[in-house]
C-alpha cells in the first residue's frame, strides 16, 4: 500500500545525500550527522534507534533463578563430575573463560571455538556460532548430552544424580519434581536472568548519562561505517547471520578448517560457507578474545579486521579508537556490579 510512497521518499532522501556529498567534503561522521539533521522525522528517516537499552528488570521467579544458579555451577551435571556450565561460562569473568578461546565443542584441525558469553543470551535469536539452536532449551539439552561438552550420559543416569541432591530444592522452587523438563527449565530460567542492564550507553539512551565526545563520535562512526547493519537491536547483534568476509576473504593466508566453515556445516548450502551468527557486542570490551576462533586479541584488532573484511574499509587509527570507546560503553552490570569488574 504505502510502498510507492516509500520509494518516492527514498528517491528524495538519497538525492539529498548525493547533493550533500557534492556540495562539500565532509568526513563520514559529519556526513552522517548532516544527513540526520537535514532529514526530518519522515517515513524515510529511521523512526527508531537501532539499539535499545536492556531492561533493568527480569520477571523471573527468584526461587527458580537460585536453583538454576546452583545447577549451573554444579559439576554433578557432567558425566565425570568435574565440569559444570560455569567451567566455561565464569560469571565473574563476563560469562566466559577470560582471555581464552577455549571450547570443549567437537574439536577439529584448526582449534577450539571461542566461548561466547552467557550474559544476555535471553536477547539472542539463535545460539552457538553457527546458530544451530533456536531455543536455549534445545541448546542446553544438546550440550548436556554432548559427550564432548558435559557428557551427562543419558537422562536415566543424570536425573537420579540431580534428584538425590536437589529433590527438595526443586519442590521448594515450585516444581512438581525433578524431571528433564524441570531441570532444563531451572537452568534456562537462570540463563535468561543473566542480563546486564545499565551499560553507560543504555543510560545515555535513557538520557540518564552523557557520554563523552569521543564515545558519541564512536557511535556515529559505528553507524556510518556500517557496523550497525549487523550489530543492531537490543543485543547489538545476535539476531542475524552474516558471512565472515563480505568484502574480502577473512581467511586469507590462513588454514581454513571445519570450524571456519560456519553454518555450512549445518545446512550444506554453498552460500552458508563462513556464515556465522553475528555475535552480540554487549560487554564486548570485557569478553576478549574475539571472533569464532578467538583470533582477535584486542578490541581494536577486531574493529580493524571487521571494517576491512566486512565493510571494505581501511579504518584509520583514530576512527578505530573512537569506535572502541563507544563499544566500551556497552559494558553493563550484573547484580549491580560492572561485568568483568575483576578483570579491569
Amino acid at each position: 500500500m504505502g510502498l510507492g510512497a516509500m520509494s518516492a521518499a527514498r528517491v528524495l532522501g538519497i538525492a539529498t545525500v548525493a547533493a550533500v556529498g557534492l556540495a562539500c567534503t565532509p568526513t563520514p561522521t559529519e556526513l552522517e550527522q548532516e544527513r540526520r539533521s537535514r532529514l526530518p522525522d519522515s517515513a524515510f528517516a529511521t523512526s527508531e534507534d537501532p539499539i535499545e537499552p536492556i531492561p533493568t528488570r527480569t520477571g523471573a521467579d527468584p526461587r527458580k533463578v537460585a536453583l538454576g544458579r546452583a545447577l549451573f555451577s554444579d559439576p554433578i551435571l557432567s558425566g565425570n563430575g568435574s565440569t559444570s556450565c560455569a567451567s566455561c561460562h565464569v560469571l565473574s569473568e563476563a560469562g566466559i573463560v577470560a582471555g581464552e578461546a577455549r571450547s570443549t565443542h567437537p574439536r577439529d584441525d584448526t582449534g577450539p571455538y571461542n566461548v561466547p558469553t552467557v550474559f544476555n543470551v535471553a536477547f539472542n535469536a539463535r545460539f552457538n556460532w553457527t546458530g544451530r539452536f533456536a531455543t536455549l532449551e534445545d541448546h542446553l539439552r544438546a550440550l548436556l548430552l554432548n559427550p564432548e561438552v558435559m557428557d551427562a550420559g543419558t537422562w536415566e543416569e543424570l536425573l537420579p544424580r540431580v534428584r538425590r541432591k536437589y529433590e527438595r530444592r526443586f519442590v521448594e522452587a515450585g516444581y512438581p519434581s525433578v524431571s528433564e523438563a524441570t531441570l532444563i527449565d531451572a537452568i534456562v530460567t537462570f540463563q535468561r536472568s543473566l542480563v546486564t542492564p545499565n551499560a553507560r550507553f543504555d543510560r545515555h539512551l535513557r538520557s540518564e548519562e552523557v557520554l563523552s565526545e569521543e564515545e558519541l563520535e564512536g557511535y556515529e562512526a559505528f553507524k556510518s561505517v556500517g557496523c550497525i547493519s549487523c550489530h543492531q537491536g537490543i543485543n547489538v547483534g545476535g539476531n542475524v547471520f552474516q558471512r565472515f568476509g563480505v568484502m574480502e576473504d577473512a581467511f586469507e593466508g590462513r588454514t581454513v578448517g571445519r570450524r571456519d566453515m560456519g553454518r555450512f556445516l549445518l545446512t550444506g548450502r554453498p552460500s552458508d560457507v563462513h556464515v556465522f551468527r553475528v555475535p552480540s557486542l554487549r560487554n564486548v570490551a570485557v569478553t576478549a578474545p574475539y571472533f569464532h576462533d578467538g583470533s582477535a586479541r584486542t578490541l581494536e584488532d577486531a574493529i580493524t579486521r571487521m571494517a576491512a573484511v566486512q565493510l571494505g574499509y581501511v579504518l584509520p587509527g583514530p576512527q578505530v579508537a573512537r569506535i572502541a570507546a563507544f563499544l566500551r560503553t556497552l559494558t553493563g552490570e550484573y547484580e549491580g556490579v560492572s561485568v568483568g569488574e575483576s578483570r579491569r
Binding site: 520509494s7 528517491v11 538519497i14 557534492l22 553507524k223 547493519s229 537491536g233 563480505v246 556464515v275
Partner: protein, 554 residues
Amino acid sequence: MTTLRSLRLAWIAVVLALIAATGFAWLRQPDDDEHASYSRHLQSAQALDTRLNEEVAKSRLGIVNHYDRLVAVWDDIAALERELGDTPSLVDATGRAEMAPRLAAYRAALRHKETLVESFKTEQAVLRSSVRAFPLAVARARDATRDDPAAAPFREALTQLEHDVMLTLVAPSRLDAERARCALVGLDSPERPMLPATLSACARGTVAGLDARRDLVAPVLVHAAVVVERQPRVERLVSSIVTQPVRARASAVLESYTASYERASASSRIAWLLVYGLVIAALAAGAADIIARLTGSKRALEDAHTRLSNALAELRVERDREMELAALKSRFVAMTSHEFRTPLSVILSSAELLEAYGDRWPREKQLGHLRRMQDSAKGMSRMLDGVLLIGRAEAGMLELTPRPVELHPLCDELVEQARLLVGSERRLDYVNTAPEEPVWLDEKLLRHVLTNLLSNAFKYSPDDAPVTFVVGHKDDAATFDIKDRGIGIPDEDRDRLFEAFHRCANAGSVPGTGLGLAIVKSALDVHGGAISVQSEIGRGTHFHVEVPYRQVDA
C-alpha cells in the same frame, strides 16, 4: 403381569442405552477449549505471516533498522508451529490424514520462508552497509581530487556512477541497472573484475589517472558493486518472502481442520440428539411403568375388594343358613318335644293302663286304649314321613319322575281316603273336570300336595263346614282348587306360610306339625307348579294349585 414386566425390562434397557449413549456422546463431544485454541492458533498463523511480511517490508524500507522485531515475530511463529503439531483430539482419522499433508506443506513453506528471511537479513545488512558507505566513499574520492583540474573527468565519472547506482537502488528498472553496470565497468580495473561476466559486453571506457587513485576508487567500486548486485537480490528475496504461500497453506490447514470440526460436532450433535431421545424414551417408559403399576395395583385392590365382598356375602349367606338351621333345629326340637311327646305319652299311659288294668277292663275299654296307641304311633309315623320328606326336599333330593297318570281314578281315590280319614259325616264337594286320558305328572308328588291340602281343609274348619275340591285343567296344566270355610290365615302369617314347622297364630290347639304346606310347596317347586292362596279370617281359605304336565321326551 407380563406387560408390566416387559415394560420394566424396556425401561431398564432404555436407561442402559441412555447411559451408553451419554458416555458415547461425552466422548464424541469436541473439546471446546481445545478447538477454540487450535483454531485461534491457525488464524494467528495467518495473521503472524502478514506481520512478518510487514516487518520484512519495514526493514527493507529502513523504517525499522534492527531485526529484533522480525526475530520476535519469527519466535511467535515458531512457537505457534509447535502448538499446531498437537492436532486436537476431536479430529478423526480422516481429518488427520487430510490435515497431515497440509500441515507438512505449511511447515515446508515456513522452513523455506525462514531460510529466505535469514538470507534477507544477511543480504540486507550488507546492502545497507554499502548503501551508507558508497556515497561516503564517492565523497571521499571526489574530495581528494577536488584541487586537481585534470581529475575533472574522474569526478564526472564518479558523479555519473553515484547517480546511476542510486537510481538502481531506488528505482530498480532494467535500463537503469544496465547503465549503472556499464558506468561501473567503465571505472573497474581490469585486474579486479567485480562484476558478473554477463556485463563484460558493456563498453569499457577509460578514465585518466585511475591507477593513481586506486585507493580512493577501490571502496567506491566495492560498494557500488555490492549495491548493484545485492539490490536486486534483496528485492527478489523480499518478493519471494512476501509471495511464500505460508498464509495460503495455513488457510488450507484451517479449512480441513474446520471440516473435521464440523464433522465432529455434527456427529456429536447426533449423539446428543440420541441422548435426548433416549431421555424422553426413558421418561416415557418410566412413566408408563409407573402408570401400569398404579393401574395394576388398583385393579388388584378392586379384585381383592370384590373377593372380600363375595366372601363376606357368602359368609352372610352361610351365617343366615346357619341361623335358619339353628332356628329350624330349635323349632324341630320344640315341635318334637311337643308333637312327639304327646303321642308318646298317650302310648305310654295307655300301655301302662293296659298293663295294670287290662285284665279287669272290659274288652271295649281295652280296645279303646289300643286304638289310641295305634293312632298316636300312626301320627308319629306320618310326622316322621313329613319331616323326612321336607329334609329330602331341602337337601335337593326330591326327584321328579313323571309318569302317565289318569287324574280321575287318582283324585277319586284321594277323596275316598280323605273321607275315610275324617269320617263320613264330613261333607266334601268333589268336582272333577280333568281330561279322561292320562297326563304326564309325578303321581307321588301330586299325592303329597293334594293329601296335605285336603287334610288341612278338614283340619282347620268346623265339622259342619263343607270342603270343596275341584279338579280341572287349563292349557297344559292340571288345576286343583281346595276351598274350606274354616278359620282362615292371618295376614301376618302369609309370608311364612310355606316354611317348615311354621304354624299360623290362630292354629291354636289343632294338632299339626307345621310341615304340611312346606311339603306342598317343596313338591310343587320340584314339579314346576304354582300355588296361590286366598283367605279371610273366620270365613275360609281357598288354595289354587296349577301343576304343569311334564311330557317326557320319548
